[in-house]
């Protein structure tokens, strides 16, 4: 029940984020790159709500992003999911820390996602080295720092939408 209501939230949110990603962010690049907003939101959601919801959010995020690339559809959905799953599994083994852990997970997940996607594009004739060289390091750095405001924003949203039951 909870998962289905979270998916209802994910679809319009990811639609809006994809529009922002393709029509707004390219006008304001940082270090020559733009952060992957839908990916960071999916990752933050996985940290906050658990891997089951996070993987679904990652798929939805990747799917909408896939619609606006000239690369084959499905690659972002797949690599977003794998990297969010991997980051969530690592998160299960880490101590709880609301400041450092999201940043660490963002760095790990972005590295995994970028490498996997480069391999995916390599299968379809793109140069893996060129794909990685294009934006690898700045994207990892940007995502690592940008996850904090996104994580906190989602933290308050989920607290508002699904408040914790008070134990008496």
């Amino acid at each position: 029940m909870m998962i289905s209501s979270s998916i209802i939230l994910a679809v319009p949110l990811m639609l809006i984020l994809t529009v922002l990603q393709t029509a707004v962010l390219p006008y304001f690049p940082l270090f020559g790159v733009t952060p992957s907003l839908p990916f960071l939101v999916a990752l933050s959601w996985a940290v906050l709500r658990g891997v089951n919801e996070g993987v679904v959010w990652a798929f939805i995020a990747g799917f909408f992003m896939d619609l606006f690339t000239a690369a084959p559809v499905g690659g972002l959905a797949l690599t977003y999911m794998i990297s969010v799953l991997a980051a969530s599994l690592i998160n299960d083994r880490l101590p709880t820390n609301r400041f450092i852990i999201p940043m660490l997970l963002a760095a790990i997940a972005t590295v995994i996602q970028q490498l996997l996607y480069a391999i995916y594009l390599g299968i379809f004739g793109y140069s893996i080295v060129q794909v990685i060289a294009a934006s690898f390091l700045p994207t990892v750095l940007l995502n690592t720092f940008l996850i904090m405001p996104i994580y906190w924003m989602l933290y308050f949203i989920q607290r508002a939408v699904w408040p914790k039951p008070i134990e008496v």
Partner: protein, 284 residues
Amino acid sequence: MNLNEAQRRIRWVTFAVLAILAMLLTVLDRTGNLDTAFAVIRDPMASIMGWTSERTNDLEDVLEGPRDLETARSEIAQLQERIDKLERENEELREIEGEYQLLLDLFNRARQAPDYQRLTGSVIGQDSIQAVRSIIIDKGSADDVRVGMPVESSRGLVGQVFRTTPNSSQVVLITDSSSAIPARLGTSRATGILSGGGVGGSLTIDWIDLKHQLEVGEVVLTSGLGGRFPQDLVIGRVIDVDRREAELFQRAVVQPAVDFESLEVLFVITDFEPVDTEIFSETE
């Protein structure tokens, strides 16, 4: 089965189902079976994108400078347009000069790019992945834009329509690493395949025969070979030549005429019919 085990099972089943779905999407997309279905989602999103892009453009202008500079800006834009036009004319004249020198005895005319019908479109979005160089424009199949149509700006060739929805199209830029365009050099008349270098990479023409003496500054145009692009569309200018006598071929690095970071208005060439040369490569 305890709760944790059940949760774990749900996790892996969900992941497996979605992963298979993603792979299925890739296969269906590669075989061209998803275009119509996805157009239903892409099209309304492209409309929102167009609206958002316009607002962002305005916002960018506001952030760039005070409003009282607007008049000066419009004047600059007009002058820039004129410079672009003159530069283009200049490049065309250089091309004519190159041909003139070569064919003076044979032809008493200069070849020019044929007058094609052009449909004006605005850029409303960019590729969602940085490594892939493509843009989204606000004209689609409802405006008679078809896959394969060449797209240019006032300065030169931009790319080719890759996919369309009724009201938008995705254009793969010539700088994308998957791009390969038959090109010809204006003065030396050498031909080769112009390859995109992706983000941060250079446009290059490889496999040019050593018999050609390439010059820095030569204009690069589409050759029309292969039938995918019309002849004589300006691509750019040679900025470096990699020539080693020990090798069989040489390589030219090309500076594109178009500034791909500031694309706004583009022209889709709508009356050029790409020629399918596949039939010639069939053995049976």
